[in-house]
Subunit: 333 residues, 2 copies
């Protein structure tokens, strides 16, 4: 997963035999885990086949519920994801897990520690687990994450868990990506004001206080309840429940799954599911369009290129608005 | 600072008398704090005068050193910023502070708690303090932050401190914005692996362990030193120092300022300053160009508009790549 490239035209040297995309999609849909893995690799490597893959997947989209799991480092995201997979498997659900690891802006590397803890499900053929490197551009989730969601969706997953790191911008991103956003908290991670600062109060559909066996869990619940009570909500809006878990021993996890299902029912009944998905598609289309434009303007001649304009702005011989106009004039006509 | 709008064409109702931009820039450069505040408001409100403001500021850019201050909630960013201002004022430096608060994706509101703590410098005419709402788009810092930096730079600040929230994506953003990136840590905020997860190891030019009087500060230093030692650096690269402070009583803060100055000298001598600034200008030009394009394609007819395409992708009747092509074909020719 530690690749150096991040542009959509870069490709991994192929040592594998070429397989036709329609056949690969067919096999993935019939439950072949290697075909699913191969499709996600094509997506992640931004293979030249990417467009063909996306076109082949389109008719099979929209059956899975995507659940984003976010929270500060140390709240137990991986342990909770693992416990949720165990619980979902009890009712026979096919589950996909995308773990979006932080990547260094320099090395593109991803830390693998978390993945090891997911080993419980490594041999279960109805669980797909994939660690994705975050590419940095266009939001913390990386532009290939929504495409990997499409692969798992078309492959017949009932639920796709997207585990992301961190506090801050990436939470807003995951709220854009997911049908359901699950915000994880734990005692000892900072007081109420700090929770509000992290911007979590508007994005959660479910709040889960993990490590509920530790001191301070009830105080976190009380603070969160008070903070959520201040948020103005429409009459018929979803009211996010606050749940308590000890993911390490599975306590409370069944209730989280029950609430996830209740939220999915509400999404469908209220029309919010279609709205969220259209918003997600809009972001994805825009990201792809912008990537295409970036490629066009990075291939311009040196003076009118973005790099050339940037030097002129840094020197003070032009300003960024005039430079942006020049850039668009060259590329857009 | 709790405004509802975030689009570049929105404007605040004007109750103030119109002032010509060149005059405003002239007054700001002669040290009039109200003119500086007015210029930043024009930037933040995305006033119709914005282009004129940027063009008028361009010739005066590039004198200030911009220092980004980042770290997880609870490490003491505001207290440290405050202490750094006090220290910088001792040597007569003019200081600008931009505090980029988290904004709700829904309300656009900013928490004001931190600002109150900066009251020490509220009456010092050589210190400009401004709280900016993070607009969410195009990175956690918001697209108006680099423009506000330009205002403070042209107004004669020697140092501009940009304090941002959080762990995750916004750190990478601030590394892009600042000449010098100062990463704040504190004991009790998670172990070494968690620090690595937060992606801070590549972005810091200075590392400051605050709350050095608390248990565990030395352990944080040891872990950080070990983690930084693993990073590969070029022979002549800057080696980020690790400093210890107790910002609440000012201990160690003078050393931080000394290291900030040493880093600024290195930036100039090595050519890295010009490279970083060209990169920053490039990001800014691109953000402005993309905003312009977004406006164009949000004004298209309903079927070929982004919203119409998004519904078709969500329904599975087209795929995101084909939709992006359609979008670009309509806007770009």
């Amino acid at each position: 997963m530690a690749e150096q490239h991040g542009t959509p035209t870069a490709g991994r040297p192929r040592g594998r035999s070429a397989v036709a995309v329609p056949e690969l999609v067919e096999r993935a849909r019939s439950g072949d885990p290697r075909s699913v893995a191969r499709l996600i690799s094509l997506v992640e490597d931004a293979s030249p086949l990417l467009r063909e893959v996306m076109a082949a997947l389109a008719p099979y989209a929209g059956n899975a519920i995507t659940v984003g799991i976010t929270g500060a480092p140390g709240v137990g995201k991986s342990t909770s994801t693992n416990a949720l997979v165990t619980e979902l498997r009890k009712s026979g659900k096919r589950v996909g897990v995308l773990a979006v690891d932080p990547s260094s802006p320099f090395s593109g590397g991803a830390l693998l520690g978390d993945r090891i803890r997911m080993g419980d499900h490594a041999t279960d053929k109805d669980v797909y687990i994939r660690s994705m490197a975050s590419r940095g551009h266009l939001g913390g989730l990386g532009w290939s994450t929504p495409q990997a969601v499409r692969v798992l969706d078309a492959a017949g997953c009932d639920v796709i868990l997207v585990e992301t790191v961190g506090v801050g911008q990436s939470e807003v991103d995951i709220a854009g990506l997911a049908d359901t956003t699950l915000v994880l908290l734990a005692p000892g991670m900072g007081d109420g004001i700090q929770a509000a600062k992290a911007g979590i109060l508007e994005i959660g559909d479910l709040y889960v206080i993990n490590k509920a066996d530790r001191d301070g869990a009830n105080a976190v619940r009380r603070d969160l309840r008070n903070a959520l009570a201040l948020a103005q909500r429409e009459e018929d809006a979803w009211r996010p429940p606050i749940l308590m878990t000890t993911a390490a021993n599975g306590e409370g996890v069944a209730e989280v799954v029950t609430e996830m299902e209740r939220h999915a029912d509400w999404l469908r009944a209220s029309g919010e599911l279609a709205r969220r998905r259209a918003r997600r598609a809009r972001d994805e289309i825009e990201a792809i369009a912008l990537t295409t434009l970036r490629e066009r303007w990075s291939s311009l001649g040196s003076h009118e290129s973005l790099a050339g304009l940037a030097v002129r702005v840094a020197e003070g011989t032009t300003d960024p608005y005039a430079a942006a106009d020049e850039l668009l004039d060259t590329v857009v006509t």
